[in-house]
Structure formats: C-alpha cells, structure tokens
C-alpha cells in the first residue's frame, strides 16, 4: 500500500502539470488532480482490503490490485473533467430552456446573459443561507462528487441523514428556480405588452 501511495505521489505532479496545460486554470487543475488522487486512493484502500480477504483464502493478486496506478490516475482525472464540463453546461441550458425571448438572435441578448447570472447568483445565495450541515452535504455530493457513504463517514452521520439533507437542499434550491421562472415570465409579459417593444427600444438605444 505504501508503494502505491509513493507511486501516486510521484505521478501527481505530472498529472497536475498536464491538467494545468489542458485546462488553463491552475486552481481548477489542482482541484481535479486532488479529487483524482483521493478517488484512486479510496479505490486502492478498498481493493487492498478485498485482497487481504482473498490472500487469507489462498488467492494471489498484484499490489493493491491496480495494474497501472498512473493510467488509473489520469483516467479518473479525465472522467472528472468530462463530468464537470457537462455539469457547467447544463446550468446554462436551464436558462436557455426557460428564457426563449432572445432565441431568434444568433448572439445571446443582454437579457439572456443577465438571466444566467441571476440564476447563478440566486442559487448561490440560497446555498449560502442553507443550514451548514445541509449545505456541506449538498456540496460534497454535487460539487465534489462524493458518495453518500463517503459523506456519512466524513461527517460522522448516518447515510439516511445524508440522504435527507441532500433532498432537502435540492428542494430548497429547486424552489429558487420556480421563483425565478415566475419572475422571468412576468418580465416577458411586461416587455410583450402592446405599446412597449423592447426590441424597438434597443434599436433607439
């Protein structure tokens, strides 16, 4: 196990360099590298305990059962990058789906950009006002990709409590979307009233 950790540490710097080059953001690269390291390490710990059981029953296996820790580390990092990119995109998609006023335009309208920022700001604001434990559970799951079991262990609570916090946080944040949606509809109704043409107003701006 110690060999594996040393090997992971040795490749960690390479991974971080490559991620920094690919992502062009050293902080983000450091985050992904750290998460990858933690996941491979957790996986190795689990494999190690399985191997002990296997060895006790006469079986054989390689060190921690991981053939190439370097390859695994880089593969996990790549998967994390892909997942993260997908999550970022869907936040924009929510606004695109619900705010179609500028859909005929080829570039996003000021209203569209403002709506995206509004959604982000309001949800972040809600996250910040959640009870600390609820917020922590939600972010560990949604922003850092930990499992229910990992969060339960980390926070020393039951998995059932994690599940409850997670759902409560999701519902609290979901209600922000509902309020924003009503506001967006109201704004659209106002700007579409007879006698007021937002597009015309922009032309004269």
């Amino acid at each position: 196990m110690r060999d594996l950790v040393q090997e992971l540490v040795a490749h960690y710097a390479d991974l971080r360099r490559q991620l920094t080059r690919d992502l062009r953001d050293p902080h983000y690269a450091a985050d992904i590298a750290q998460s990858s390291f933690e996941r491979v390490y957790a996986h190795a710990l689990k494999m190690n305990s399985d191997i002990r059981v296997d060895a006790a029953s006469g079986g054989t296996a390689g060190a921690c059962g991981i053939e190439s820790p370097r390859a695994l580390l880089f593969r996990v990092a790549r998967n994390l990058c892909v997942d993260d990119a997908r999550r970022r995109k869907v936040a924009q998609d929510w606004v695109s789906t619900h705010f179609s006023v500028g859909s005929r335009q080829t570039v996003p309208s000021c209203e569209f950009i403002a709506s995206q920022q509004q959604v982000l700001a309001r949800v972040v604001e809600t996250l910040e006002t959640l009870p600390p434990r609820r917020r922590e559970v939600f972010l560990l799951f949604r922003a850092y990709g930990h499992t229910r079991a990992e969060i339960a262990q980390q926070l020393n609570i039951t998995e059932m409590a994690v599940a409850k916090h997670l759902l409560r946080a999701a519902i609290d944040c979901s209600r922000v979307f509902a309020r924003l949606r009503s506001e967006l509809i109201e704004q659209t109704t106002v700007s579409n009233r007879t006698g007021f043409d937002a597009k015309l107003a922009e032309d004269f701006a």
Binding site: H27, Y28, D31, D84, R87, R88, K89, V90, A91, Q92, D93, W94, T97, H98, F99, S100, V119, L120, V123, V124, L127, F138, L139, F141, R142, A143, Y144, T147, R148, A149, E159, V162, A163, L166, L167, A170, I171, C173, S174, R175, F177, A178, R181, S182, L184, I185, T188
Partner: protein, 71 residues
C-alpha cells in the same frame, strides 16, 4: 414559454432523481424504475420529471461554479 408543471410534482420527481443518483446500487436501480413508472402516469408527470431533471443538472453546474468561486 410553456406553462410550468405543478411544483409538488416537480419536487416528487426531484426526490426520485436524487434517490436514483445517490442511493447505493440496488436502491438506486429501484428509484430509477420508480421514476420511469411515475413519469409514465401522465403528460404532466412527464413534464415535471423533465423539469426536475433540468433543475438537478443545473444545480450540479452551479455547485461546481460555487466551489470555484469559494477559492
């Protein structure tokens, strides 16, 4: 802009989505099946499930942004 599905339905769908994504393997599979059945009940259920999925996905993106903002 299409009319919004009922919020209570959206929250019910959200509960099934959260369970299907966070529960241990067997429970997650059961939640996915339950969500599929629930979605099939009516067009309104289907629309609520779609909206809940959009919100859940959007929350993932926003949580990632929030994590980066905290640095």
């Amino acid at each position: 802009m299409a009319s919004a599905p009922d919020e209570k339905l959206i929250e019910r769908a959200l509960a099934l989505i959260v369970e299907s994504e966070s529960a241990p393997h067997d429970a997650a599979v059961a939640a996915r099946l339950a969500l599929a059945r629930w979605r099939g009940r009516s067009e309104e259920h289907a629309a609520a499930a779609q909206e809940a999925r959009r919100r859940w996905d959007a929350l993932g993106g926003i949580a990632a942004e929030w994590r980066d903002l905290r640095k």
